[in-house]
């Protein structure tokens, strides 16, 4: 037999698009393309709102105010003297070329560089929290479901309700009081966990005890969220016929749980990982303010206060991108792990 007829290139493309992988590729392409108008509107809204805020980047709260001549010179230097829409068009044009301008607060520093330095801290804390959230959240959820209506279940439920309802900055305060202030007072100032500041330079991968409280604070709500979700979806799966069959076959609990229950009950949990990124981004703003960490979250609050337009816009764009990409990855994962899901 000769080689199978390969058909024209067009036929191959058609065949590819007809296959499941092709559908997926087309879907991803559509989603990525759709990001462009969404990002444009995010930039537009932020640009209008940031510039509408009273005051400007040259105000010196409490300090000596700059003279009008200096303000004018700075406006001209950074193009703030131009009409509003012209500034917007110039900004969007620059963004297309990956030029996000320079900070108005720390003058001369490229916004990309500033954001990058901030990410060093935010990413470490976020990653540590993530590595903590996923196993603890899923683990407690599964255990609670397997031991439904026992004290284990009640403890997990109570903790996850509290975790979902008590705001993260309040959790932070209690950690500071419990782990820093109370030990400090009781040991006469000899021992207390450090509360604020970046970690020491010689720390292992930059990770040291400074991160304990921020990571716990950041992880509290997501653990509760993932735990509750895992519990309810596991309970749902445990009631399915095929699980009963697995038990009836005499499979050991470990095999039933891992092979039959978890495989299906974790599907909804995977979709929750997308919102989890948004929660972590929002959480970083709060946690970094509570613990005085110079990450992107604190940078956002500071640059809003300082009316540092390029930094505000740069941060918003990258937050939006992260959330969108996380959601896209989760949607793809969802399709890959669950063959029942069809793409529109």
């Amino acid at each position: 037999m000769g080689a199978p007829s390969r058909g024209g290139a067009l036929l191959q493309v058609q065949r590819f698009l007809g296959s499941r992988g092709g559908h997926l590729a087309f879907y991803v392409f559509k989603r990525v393309l759709w990001l462009v108008p969404v990002l444009f509107f995010v930039i537009l809204v932020t640009f209008v709102l940031a510039h509408a805020a009273p005051g400007g980047p040259w105000d010196r709260n409490g300090g000596r105010e700059l003279s009008d001549a200096v303000r004018k010179a700075k406006d001209i230097k950074y193009g703030l003297d131009k009409p509003f829409w012209e500034q917007f068009v110039i900004y969007v044009g620059n963004v297309i070329h990956f030029d996000f301008g320079t900070s108005l607060q720390s003058e001369g520093i490229d916004v990309k560089d500033r954001i990058f330095t901030g990410w060093k801290y935010t990413a470490q804390i976020g990653l540590l929290a993530f590595l903590f959230i996923v196993p603890v959240g899923i683990g407690t959820g599964v255990i609670a479901a397997l031991r439904q209506n026992t004290w284990v279940d009640y403890v997990v439920l109570a903790l996850s309700t509290a975790g979902a309802a008590v705001p993260n900055f309040v959790v932070g305060f209690f950690l500071v009081i419990l782990l820093a202030i109370i030990p400090y007072k009781f040991t006469g100032g000899n021992f207390a966990l450090p509360v604020s500041g970046p970690p020491a330079d010689d720390a292992w991968f930059g990770i040291d005890i400074h991160y304990l409280m921020p990571v716990l604070t950041l992880a509290f709500l997501p653990i509760a969220y993932i735990g509750r979700l895992t519990r309810s979806s596991t309970l749902e799966t445990l009631r399915q016929d095929y699980v009963r069959t697995a038990w009836a076959k005499g499979l050991p609990e470990r095999k039933v749980v891992i092979g039959h229950v978890l495989k299906n009950s974790l599907i909804p949990v995977v979709t929750a990982l997308g919102p989890l990124f948004a929660i972590l981004v929002t959480g970083s703003v709060v946690v970094e303010s509570v613990f005085q960490i110079p990450g992107v979250g604190k940078m956002f609050i500071d640059s809003i206060g300082a009316r540092d337009y390029p930094v505000i816009l740069g941060l918003v764009i990258q937050f939006a991108l992260i959330v969108a990409i996380a959601n896209l990855i989760v949607d793809i994962l969802y399709v890959v792990i669950d063959p029942r899901i069809r793409l529109e």
Partner: protein, 306 residues
Amino acid sequence: MAVAVAGAGAPAAIDWEVPEQVGLWSDAWRRFRRNKVAVIGLCLVGILVLDAIASALLSTTGHYLWADPFKQDVNNIFAGSSAAHPFGQDELGRDVFARVLKGAEISMQIGLLTQLIILVIGGLVGLTAGYFGGWVDNLLMRFTDVMYAFPDLLFIIVVVAAMGRSLLSIFVAISVVNWVNLARLIRGQVLQLREKEFVEGARASGSTPLKIILKHLLPNSLGPIIVSLTFGIPQAIFLEAVLSYLGAGLPPPTPSWGVMTHDGYDAISADPVLVIFPAIAIAITMLSFTFIGDGLRDALDPRMRK
């Protein structure tokens, strides 16, 4: 049904036992009452609402529920608990108990009024988008795409910065961000209900769209709407508190729990207790509303009806 034999010899009288008529609301209330945690939450919220109303009414006549929450007493800063000041005094000598009591007023306003605005905007858009589809539906979905790309807290911070730090701008910011979720929920409900037989029947018998929406679609999707709004209350209270904590919300010396945590945390090494009272107040309020929300969800879920 039960067959009762009324005396020997007499013709058997059949006594059809009619089940007690149970309406949606009394049935839901019965199930809600059985959930003890939810009832506790409801009681706590009742106390908070009374506190908020009382302090709002009293402040119009120049009186206070406990003491003047603004009066400074610089000779007694960081004073501990006493009979006159059960929660002590803060960094300016103000009475912490009075400020916590007054703080409920702002939190309740934020929690309840934002949900009212969200109900009006989200309801109108959601019903229109779900029933008629068309450009309203398209616009809603596109708007959602943009909003989902923008983490809530960050967007609210930007809006409040643009409008100035006041109660009004916090109302607007929270409502602008959160109506989308309710509109999407109602849209989904309406899409589901629209094809049901009773709606088709109403349409066939000549009901106008407005009548169908008001008499059939809205009452039938009321359960999820109420639950969503109830969970929206602690969310809004949280947003105000965290905004004020970050220094991006209400300006000092407003006696809001968020502002109090901001000032208290600054003074945490001088007096760690200062941050605890407003923090506990926020936590209890949010927990209470969450309990009520959980209770309502179980009570209003039609699959749980007896």
